[in-house]
């Protein structure tokens, strides 16, 4: 009898092509998603070495980071360099015969939203993309992680990666989430608990009744941010909700193959007694809506809190880091978080750009008016956009004063024209509040969609439960 294994161990074991002497393993990669920013140098590398793609049917390409989000996107060029990257992706996909979703296609969107929507993301698979938030796909019980461009090239040429087994970190969130508390708040609370390096070297498996209770969208939001906790990947075991989501998606298995697949997917569970290297238990009832105050996702507090004082830091490094963050963020210690005024609001990204997020925002802003200089709402994909418009959500947004855009990464990383001006403060549903993330000298407060919507209405950080 084999000893009890975790979900991660099972997926890993099923993908070992070869154990190598150095303690590394050659791991087979089932799915590869590419976009315009991290793939051009990989294609160039293949060309220079005279190599081809090992498996064309295992790659999906879609532009997202650089695309304009305004209605005139078909003809608009924000920068020559962006256009060069977008053109290069199209050219490379044609040359190497890769399945490519062009910018003007209704299915276009952010890689991590498109993969699941197309049924390309499946349980038990290994999925990579030259983007750290590939962890998102772990919501389906897939081992999904971000890689650099050299590894993108390695996968293109060999369909494998040389990897070392990660540690198993279990984060259990049990009990009931309170009113107004979402998957995003769980994600931020987890990072606040373990820190941005807490998951380094590990894959996180999220377990517990509060996780089981999340929708697929919510699980994606949670796994999306596993990387912000330093983990290479996040995992949730697949269940009926997962299968329900996948069923009927364009690239998902059909008919008898679907039944066969579900049979296999049902085995993707951590065995009783499986050992984790570390376990963290969080009571769902303890989580309140979260907001970040600093320049790292671990700089997070309940919305009921106050901006921290560097004098309370545990050591000199931390003190210097808090001082630097507060200076950058333009915040005084002791300020009540709900007193912090925001200039702009951004709703979107691979963290919170799905239909459920759009609905949550609509619920808050319906019949109200925004009270900030700019409120941008960017659906994560063309399909999310269509669905939202079918439900009439776009009208609610526009009526309230939101700018309803075309899909893309947009102000999550501000590589296109959507960015904050220096010094501007934004309540954002994205995943990173690093210095300069939303434009040079931009100030970001990470929140859930409902909290971002509330801030748009009141003009300051707001406890959604009080609105």
């Amino acid at each position: 009898m084999t000893s009890p294994r975790t979900l991660y161990d099972k997926i890993w074991d099923a993908h070992v092509v070869e154990e190598q002497q150095s303690g590394n393993s050659l791991i087979y990669i089932d799915r590869h998603i590419i976009h315009e920013v991290t793939s051009p140098q990989a294609f160039e590398g293949l060309r220079l070495a005279g190599r081809g793609l090992r498996r064309k049917d295992a790659i999906l390409a879609v532009p997202d980071h650089n695309v304009p989000t305004t209605p005139d996107r078909a003809t608009r060029v924000d920068s020559i360099e962006s256009k060069t990257q977008l053109d290069a992706l199209e050219r490379n996909c044609r040359e190497f015969d890769v399945d490519y979703i062009p910018m003007m296609d209704a299915r276009q969107g952010i890689v991590h939203i498109v993969g699941p929507e197309q049924g390309f993301t499946l349980p038990g698979t290994t999925i990579v993309c030259g983007d750290s938030h590939t962890s998102t796909h772990g919501a389906f019980g897939a081992l999904a992680f971000g890689i650099g461009t050299s590894e993108v090239e390695h996968v293109m040429a060999t369909q494998t990666l040389i990897l070392k087994r990660s540690k198993n970190l279990r984060i259990d969130v049990s009990g009931e989430l309170g009113i107004g508390v979402t998957a995003k708040d769980v994600a931020l609370a987890v990072i606040g608990t373990i820190g941005t390096a807490g998951g380094t070297g590990s894959v996180i498996e999220f377990t517990g009744s509060a996780i089981k209770g999340l929708s697929m969208e919510g699980r994606m939001t949670l796994c999306n941010m596993a990387i912000e906790g330093g983990a290479r990947a996040g995992l949730v075991e697949p269940d009926e909700k997962t299968y329900e989501y996948i069923k009927g998606k364009p690239k998902a298995p059909k008919g008898a193959q679907f039944e066969m697949a579900v049979n296999y997917w049902n085995s993707l569970k951590s065995d009783d007694g499986a050992l984790y290297d570390k376990e963290v238990f969080i009571d769902a009832a303890d989580i309140v809506p979260q907001v970040t105050w600093g320049t790292s996702p671990q700089d997070v507090l309940p919305i009921t809190g106050y901006v921290p004082n560097p004098a309370d830091a545990k050591d000199a490094d931390q003190k210097a880091s808090i001082e630097r963050s507060l200076d950058y963020m333009g915040l005084a210690p002791g300020t009540k978080l709900t007193d912090v005024k925001v200039d702009k609001v951004f709703i979107g990204s691979c963290t919170n750009g799905r239909i459920e997020d759009m609905r949550a925002v609509a619920k808050v802003v319906e019949g109200r008016k925004v009270n900030v200089a700019e409120a941008l709402i960017v659906p994560g994909s063309g399909l999310v956009k269509l669905q939202a418009e079918e439900e009439g959500l776009d009208k609610i947004f526009i009526e309230a004063g939101f700018d309803w855009r075309e899909p893309g990464c947009s102000m999550c990383l501000a590589m296109n024209a959507d960015k904050l001006l220096p010094g501007e403060r934004c309540a954002s549903t994205s995943n990173r509040n690093f210095e300069g993330r939303q434009g040079p000298k931009s100030r970001t407060h990470l929140v859930s969609p409902a909290m971002a919507a509330a801030a748009a209405i009141t003009g300051h950080l707001t406890d959604i439960r009080e609105l």
Partner: protein, 203 residues
């Protein structure tokens, strides 16, 4: 890939924790289809003033450290985005070795693929090295990857550890794609087996 056997160079102190890849190279410099030429953008948000002039207080702008090839820095270096533009920018600037208490996983791996050696050492040792590095042009270290040794400016030798495969590739400048392609048959055998069990993964 460039080989890394041993280097003797100035080390620059960067006593910051959680230096993220957005800081190493901001997003507005990612719009390239080349791997080269990014050195001028390394750390650009903290290296230059708004008018493009250099900030005197940034360590790599100081005369003593302009040719530094080693960085001594704080925990969780390279966190955030998977962008390989980060090591490309550092390498193009001239950095060949980064010494820190810990690194983010993806960045750590990306370094090896680009001829940069990331070295993990305990915080107490980093504290000592950081003090050494503060001595400007005299902060000359030797980093020897073949023997896994750092020689401090005062001659003291510190041992470090690196995964043997990565060491082998970096010391010899090997392209691991070529090495893996030699295992084509094993990969094909895996695919045959998987295809029989999970046909839905193949078209």
């Amino acid at each position: 890939m460039d080989k890394f056997k041993s280097i003797r160079a100035v080390a620059a102190p960067l006593p910051m924790i959680n230096v993220d890849t957005d800081m190493i190279i901001p997003q507005n410099h990612l719009r390239t289809i080349e791997r080269t030429g990014l050195g001028k953008f390394a750390f650009s948000n903290i290296r230059y003033n708004d008018d493009g002039s250099e900030r005197e207080d940034f360590v790599l702008n100081k005369p003593a450290y302009r040719n530094a090839q080693i960085l001594i820095t704080g925990e969780n270096f390279g966190c955030g985005s998977s962008r390989e533009h980060a090591p490309w920018a550092l390498k193009d600037f001239g950095i060949r070795c980064i010494i820190a208490p810990s690194f983010a996983d993806i960045f750590y791996g990306n370094c090896f693929k680009n001829g940069i050696l990331p070295i993990k050492l305990p915080q107490e040792i980093i504290d000592d090295l950081m003090k050494d590095a503060e001595h400007g042009a005299n902060a000359v270290f030797t980093v020897d990857l073949e023997n896994l040794e750092i020689t401090r400016p005062d001659g003291q030798v510190i041992k470090f550890e690196v995964d043997a495969f990565r060491q082998h590739c970096l010391v010899n400048g090997l392209d691991d794609i070529g090495l893996t392609m030699a295992k084509g048959e094993k990969i094909s055998a895996f695919e045959e087996k998987q295809k029989a069990q999970q046909p839905w993964l193949y078209k």
